[in-house]
Amino acid sequence: MQLDEFFVTGEPLIYAGMVSIVLVTAAIIFVLTYFKRWGWLWREWLTTVDHKKIGIMYILSALAMLFRGGMDALMMRVQLAFPGMDFLGSQHYNEIFTTHGTVMIIFMAMPFLIGLMNVIVPLQIGARDVAFPALNALSFWSFLFGAMLFNISFVIGGSPDAGWTSYTPLAGAAMSPGPGQNFYLMGLQLSGIGTLATGINFMVTIIKMRAPGMKMFQMPIFTWSTLVTAFIIVFAFPILTVALALMTIDRVFGSQFFTLTGEGLPMMWANLFWMWGHPEVYIVILPAFGIFSEVIATFARKQLFGYKAMVWSMILIAGLSFLVWVHHFFTMGAGAFVNSVFSVSTMLIAVPTGVKIFNWLATLYKSKIQFTVANLWALAFIPSFVIGGVTGVMLGMAAADYQFHNSYFLVAHFHYVLIAGTVFACFAGLVYWYPKMFGHKLNEKLGKISFWFFLIGFHVCFFPQYFVGLDGMPRRVFTIIPEWMPLNVISTVGAFGMGLGFAIFVYNIYYSYRYSEREKSGDSWDGRTLEWATPTPVPFYNFATVPHVNSHDAFIEMKETGETTFDEEKVEPIHMPSNTGQPIIMMGIAFIASFGIVFEWMWMAIAGLIGVIVMMGVRSFDYDDGFHVEVDEIKRTERKARRL
């Protein structure tokens, strides 16, 4: 293979990308070497098994991916603003909408939410860590290496260009030759391992490690949403694993699952993909619902209205999420009866979702609402998400879908639900739990400016797309006709508004790090659940003494009775797991193996797979049982953290 086949050549934008990658990497290496931070990085972060640090790394990576996916979005919006634009070629445009979709769903939304779960869920249930701390680190590194594998495709080998759904036969070896599509397959496969492990980890953590006395129906609602999400992950992700593996075998080893030769069935891919893909939608929306419930209850200063109805509607949504996948391809010839069945099951999801909307409104009813930034994101979510939901019901009508399908109406719909649902929740959750993670609040004023830019930009960007879609503009086109121009210009302006909002959000992180007042207590917002019972910064063992829980909103009760999580009389030695470098090394080797498969270099793939198996053996022989934190050290740490 020639070097100019290995690197992507010929695009000025990609040369700029290469230069910036080299510069950023060099800068990072220089800074770490100059300040002698390599050892610190390895000991404190790369080998950590602390769920809070892993969560922070997830969130940081997800923010980086949001930036990358956002840049893709802006480039697309520039290209689509005017007819006959010459900014991106058709091939480059195909690659960009493919990577935009994949990055945003797989490498931004899910990791962001999993990051928040990692930081918060053990704290909410009064646990000292997750059930399998080293596996948790492994999950993170599998996500990060998977994301990196996918991301390098734009400078090495070429990006996938068959859409984030990668429908066959378009994505098959005949019509998408070269490594691009393999990057998609292996990037998702590698990060999928970690997602499945996270699902198992959180199920066991929540079932087995709750504080004494905490019944299932006393768990905070975000923990509930995590548990339900973990169930969906465990039962949906193996389907993706199989689908990706089958397509990889098709492309690399010449099997005939999805081909047009050998009696293969391209529609099998559409079915397998959406049997995972639809539940995936709920993997990214249910935790968001959990976050909004926490934020709204806290800033309405009331108990969440209809707690049990909220939980049951989440469970119902999770069950229904597996029964609606055909609504993604009503027009692909399933027939009237099948379409009707899936149309009805799709409509059913609106019922529990409606229940949740009414419960949030009832929580706000007659309450003293505090308009903090976190709560603004939550409040803005309700009407925005309803617009997305109602248009979703329109799309769910099979007959009408023949009109809307593959038009910008659909694009507007899913951006309305995914951004107003998931992205708003990521921001709400990050702002809300920020003081717990970093010991200071984000600046409220800058937060409000970024919120308004993003919110208005969002509606300006996507609302016109409903109309341009009804006007007949299809999705995935790289150029437009003059009739669609006015609404597209508006849409592009909105996209830049969102970009500005995000930029201010990121600036706010820097500004607040420099100037925000440090938190004195752990209870920054007068919170209701156990994560606020810990001091800030949270000691690595979380709770010096684990409280006994008697009610939903456990911390409210503790505040009334004057109980704390540091009862000097009751402190006992705490058992904690040791840090380990095995997860990052193992996933680094898995990255090499995946890279070998991407380029179909079998020697590299086999060497990498052997390396992974050897690492599993090393792990099996590792009997490190962790260590005990002594009582004196706990007392010292707590007194310092609590400024006693």
Binding site: I200, K208, A236, Q256, G262, E263, M275
Partner: protein, 201 residues
């Protein structure tokens, strides 16, 4: 994270981490069920799509498949005895019966490889048609699981020989026994839905 140890009950359940690992593995088996179900569904949909390649009824023969079934079902039984010996506290019994289990598993794998080579020889390969792709990937995934299980069990036998029966080693063995029985159950479905149906259709 508690290292508190219970005084009674099976050894593998006595520390909380053991209980959690076993529960976690049950959930993992749930994910494995979904994985195999997806492969079975793919196989069912692609059934009969043999293109120019031979039909399964021309190739499948009861003989060696029955022997394979016999070997694997027996290995599940001997694996049960191994766990029984573990519960009795007999390290030697555990090791002996586990070696018998692995020998039976190896026999199964050997026959399966021979079977695959035979089919390929007759013109049915991974590449020849959609049906045969799904056959080789479904049966092959099961075979790969058995092979990994054998390697995994050998590592555990070394640990048992070195460390004896502790809450940690017994938990590890209990988990691999769950895995082994699971593969046996999957094989029963493979045997009926691939071989028995394939022979008559």
């Amino acid at each position: 994270m508690s290292s508190h140890e219970l005084k009674s009950g099976p050894l593998e359940y006595r520390i909380q981490q053991g209980q959690m690992n076993i529960l976690g593995f049950w959930i993992f088996l749930g994910a494995e069920i979904v994985l195999f179900s997806t492969l079975f569904a793919t196989y069912a949909v692609l059934f009969g799509r043999t293109d120019e390649a031979p039909l399964p009824s021309e190739l499948f023969e009861p003989g060696s498949v029955l022997i394979m079934t016999f070997l694997l079902l027996t290995s599940s039984f001997t694996c049960g005895i191994a766990i029984h010996e573990m519960r009795r506290g007999s390290k030697k019994g555990l090791i002996t019966w586990m070696i018998v289990t692995l020998a039976l598993g190896l026999g199964f794998i050997g026959l399966e490889i021979e079977e695959f080579i035979h089919y390929a020889h007759e013109g049915a390969t991974l590449q020849s048609s959609a049906y045969w792709s799904s056959f080789f990937v479904l049966a092959g995934t099961h075979g790969l699981h058995v092979t990994l299980g054998i390697g995994w069990a050998i590592l555990l036998l070394i640990q048992i020989a070195k460390r004896g029966l502790t809450p940690v080693t017994s938990r590890k063995f209990f988990i691999i026994s769950l895995y082994w029985h699971f593969l046996d159950v999957v094989w029963i479905f493979l045997f009926t839905s691939i071989y028995l149906i394939g022979m008559v259709v």
